[in-house]
C-alpha cells in the first residue's frame, strides 16, 4: 500500500516538473507592445522593420498596425503568409480553413509534427500569437464554398476590419482549388474588396500571384485562369497515381511574392504587380496586367466595372527635379538627342492566347460567348414535357 503511494507521489512530482518546464517555455513569450519603437536594441522586435522608414523605403511603417487582412486557406502558402505578416506586425489576421494538420503536410513550412490532428486555424493561431502577441487573430474553421458557410464568410470579411463593422483591408486567397477561388471572387466582387489570388501548380514547379481590384483589373471569372507555361512535354508528364505534388521552396517563394506585394499595397511603397508568375524550372518571372471582361458572367463584376468607369481616375503626379544648372557645361562632341518616332510593333489581337504575356497561357480556351444556341443534335431539358412540380420530380427520382 505505502509503496503504491510512494510510486504515485514520485509520478506526481515528475509530472509537476514537466508541467513547470512547459510553463516556462510559454512564459518566454513576450508581453504586448503599445507602440512600435525604432530604437535599435536587441530586445526590440520591430527595430529592423522600423529601419525601413529611415532608409526611405516606407513612410510611417506603424500604419501596418491599422491593417486587417483575411487569409483564406492556411496550407503550404497560407500558413507561411500568415507567419510573415505576423512577424511584420500586422494589426489583425482573420484565418479561414476547414482542414486538419496532417503528417503528410510536413514537407511544407510552418506546421510541426506535434500539431497533427489539430485544426489548421487553431494550430496556426497558437503559433502566431506566440511569435507576436500584438497581432489580433480571429479563426474560422469551415468550408467557405458551402451555402451555409458562405454568408458567414461574406459577413466576416465585410465587418472584421481593425474597427469592427469596417471591411478588411485585403483578402489573400491561399486555397488549392477552383471552387474556393470562385467563391472568394464572388464575395469580393459583391463587397468591392481588393484581393490577391495565389497558387502553386500541381507538379510544384510553378506558382503565381494575381492582384484583383474589382472593376479595375480582371476578376477571377473574367477569363480562364492564367497558368505559367512550364514547357514540359505533355507526353512525359506522369499523372498516374498522384493528385498533387508540393515543395516547400515553391510554396515559400509564392508566399514571399504574395506578402511582398500585399505589404507594398498596404503601406503604399514600390509598384504592386497585377500578375506575377514564377517558373521554377528556368527561374522565369512573367508579369502582366489583365483588363476586366465586359462580358463577365459575374453580374457584380459588371457592376464594379461600371463603378470604376464612373470614378475619376487619380492623376499621377510626376515630380520632376528642376535644376537651374545646365545639364552639361560643355558639349565638345556635339552630341544631341534625336526623337525616335519608329512605329510600335502591331499586336496580333485575333488569337485569345496571344493576349497573354510570354511564358503564360490560359488554362483552357474560353467558350465562344456568341454561340449560345444549342445545335440541333442536343436535347434540352423540358422539351415537350408537361410541367411537373419539384416535389413530384423528387418523388419520381426517389421511387426509381
Amino acid at each position: 500500500m505505502s509503496t503504491a503511494i510512494d510510486e504515485l507521489q514520485a509520478i506526481i512530482a515528475e509530472l509537476k516538473t514537466e508541467l513547470e518546464e512547459q510553463k516556462t517555455a510559454t512564459r518566454n513569450a513576450r508581453d504586448k507592445i503599445e507602440h512600435m519603437s525604432a530604437e535599435v536594441v536587441d530586445s526590440n522586435p520591430y527595430s529592423r522593420l522600423m529601419a525601413l522608414q529611415r532608409m526611405n523605403i516606407v513612410k510611417d511603417y506603424e500604419r501596418i498596425r491599422d491593417k486587417s487582412v483575411a487569409i483564406v486557406g492556411v496550407g503550404g502558402v497560407g500558413s507561411v503568409t500568415a507567419d510573415m505578416l505576423t512577424r511584420c506586425g500586422i494589426g489583425k489576421l482573420i484565418l479561414f480553413d476547414y482542414d486538419k494538420v496532417e503528417l503528410a503536410n510536413m514537407n511544407r513550412l510552418f506546421f510541426t509534427p506535434d500539431q497533427a490532428g489539430l485544426s489548421k486555424v487553431a494550430a496556426a493561431a497558437r503559433t502566431l500569437s506566440f511569435i507576436n502577441p500584438d497581432v489580433r487573430i480571429e479563426t474560422h474553421n469551415y468550408n467557405i464554398t458551402t451555402v451555409e458557410n458562405f454568408d458567414n464568410f461574406l459577413a466576416t470579411i465585410s465587418t472584421s476590419g481593425i474597427e469592427q463593422g469596417q471591411p478588411v483591408d485585403l483578402v489573400l486567397s491561399c486555397v488549392d482549388n477552383f471552387e474556393a477561388r470562385m467563391a472568394i471572387n464572388a464575395a469580393c466582387n459583391e463587397h468591392n474588396l481588393n484581393w490577391f489570388e495565389s497558387g502553386v501548380s500541381e507538379n510544384a514547379v510553378s506558382g503565381h500571384i494575381q492582384f484583383i481590384r474589382p472593376g479595375d483589373t480582371a476578376c477571377f471569372a473574367c477569363a480562364p485562369p492564367l497558368v505559367v507555361a512550364e514547357n514540359i512535354d505533355e507526353r512525359t508528364l506522369k499523372r498516374e497515381g498522384v493528385c498533387a505534388a508540393s515543395l516547400p521552396t515553391t510554396m515559400g517563394i509564392t508566399a514571399g511574392l504574395l506578402v511582398q506585394n500585399a505589404l507594398k499595397y498596404l503601406l503604399n511603397f514600390g509598384e504592386v504587380s497585377d500578375y506575377l508568375g514564377y517558373n521554377a524550372l528556368n527561374d522565369f518571372f512573367p508579369k502582366m496586367t489583365l483588363k476586366p471582361n465586359t462580358q463577365c458572367d459575374d453580374r457584380h463584376c459588371l457592376q464594379r466595372q461600371k463603378d470604376f468607369q464612373a470614378r475619376p481616375k487619380p492623376v499621377v503626379v510626376v515630380e520632376e527635379e528642376v535644376s537651374n544648372e545646365p545639364l552639361h557645361a560643355s558639349n565638345d562632341w556635339g552630341i544631341e538627342l534625336v526623337a525616335e518616332d519608329a512605329p510600335l510593333p502591331a499586336v496580333d489581337a485575333t488569337s485569345k492566347s496571344a493576349d497573354v504575356a510570354t511564358g503564360l497561357r490560359l488554362a483552357y480556351e474560353a467558350p465562344d460567348k456568341l454561340d449560345t444556341t444549342s445545335s440541333a443534335a442536343e436535347t434540352v431539358v423540358g422539351d415537350g414535357a408537361p410541367e411537373a412540380s419539384l416535389e413530384d420530380l423528387m418523388a419520381q427520382m426517389k421511387s426509381m
Binding site: 451555402v147 493528385c243 480556351e365 431539358v381 423540358g382 419539384l390 427520382m397 426509381m400
Partner: protein, 168 residues
C-alpha cells in the same frame, strides 16, 4: 478532347438552360427542376437500354437541393460493388462543378482529395468549364464519376484494397 463514347453519353442526357446557383433562391428552384428532369432522363435511359450498361446510380437531395446523397454501383467480373455518394452544391454552382465524394474510399487512393472527393481536375473540369450552364449533376455523374470509377475501382480491387465481401 471529347471522344466518341463521351459524345454518346452526352447525347443521352438533356442539357440544362437556367444559370442559377443556390443563393438565388427563386431561380434556383427552376434550375433544381431541370437537374431532377435530367437525372430522371439519365436513369431511365439506362433502364430502357440495358445493353449500354447497368443501372449504376441513385441520388436524392435535401429539400433545398444543396446537399445530395445516394449510391453508385460498379460491376467488375460480374460482381457488383456499391459505394455511398455525397456532395454539396457550392455557392458558385453552376460555374464550378459539384465535388463528388465517396467517403468510404477516403485515404484508399491517391486520386482523391480530403474527405473522399474524387479527383476530377484533368478529365472533367475543363469540359465542365466549357459547358456552363448546360451541364448539371447528371453530367457530373456520367462524365466525371463514371470514368473515375472505371479506372479506380478495378485497380483498388486488384490491389486488394476493396473486396467484394465488404459490400455483402
Amino acid at each position: 478532347m471529347v471522344d466518341d463514347s463521351t459524345r454518346k453519353t452526352l447525347s443521352s442526357i438533356p442539357l440544362l438552360q437556367i444559370r442559377a446557383g443556390p443563393r438565388e433562391k427563386d431561380v434556383w428552384v427552376q434550375r433544381l427542376k431541370e437537374e431532377y428532369q435530367a437525372l430522371i432522363k439519365a436513369c431511365s435511359y439506362v433502364e430502357n437500354n440495358k445493353q449500354s450498361g447497368s443501372d449504376w446510380f441513385r441520388l436524392e437531395s435535401n429539400k433545398e437541393g444543396t446537399k445530395w446523397f445516394g449510391k453508385c454501383w460498379y460491376m467488375h467480373n460480374l460482381l457488383k460493388y456499391e459505394f455511398d455518394i455525397e456532395f454539396d452544391i457550392p455557392v458558385t454552382y453552376p460555374t464550378t462543378a459539384p465535388e463528388i465524394a465517396l467517403p468510404e474510399l477516403d485515404g484508399k487512393t491517391a486520386k482523391m482529395y480530403r474527405g473522399g472527393k474524387i479527383c476530377l481536375t484533368d478529365h472533367f473540369k475543363p469540359l465542365w468549364a466549357r459547358n456552363v450552364p448546360k451541364f448539371g449533376i447528371a453530367h457530373a455523374m456520367a462524365l466525371g464519376l463514371a470514368p473515375w470509377l472505371a479506372v479506380e475501382v478495378p485497380d483498388l480491387i486488384e490491389k486488394g484494397i476493396i473486396t467484394y465481401k465488404d459490400k455483402c
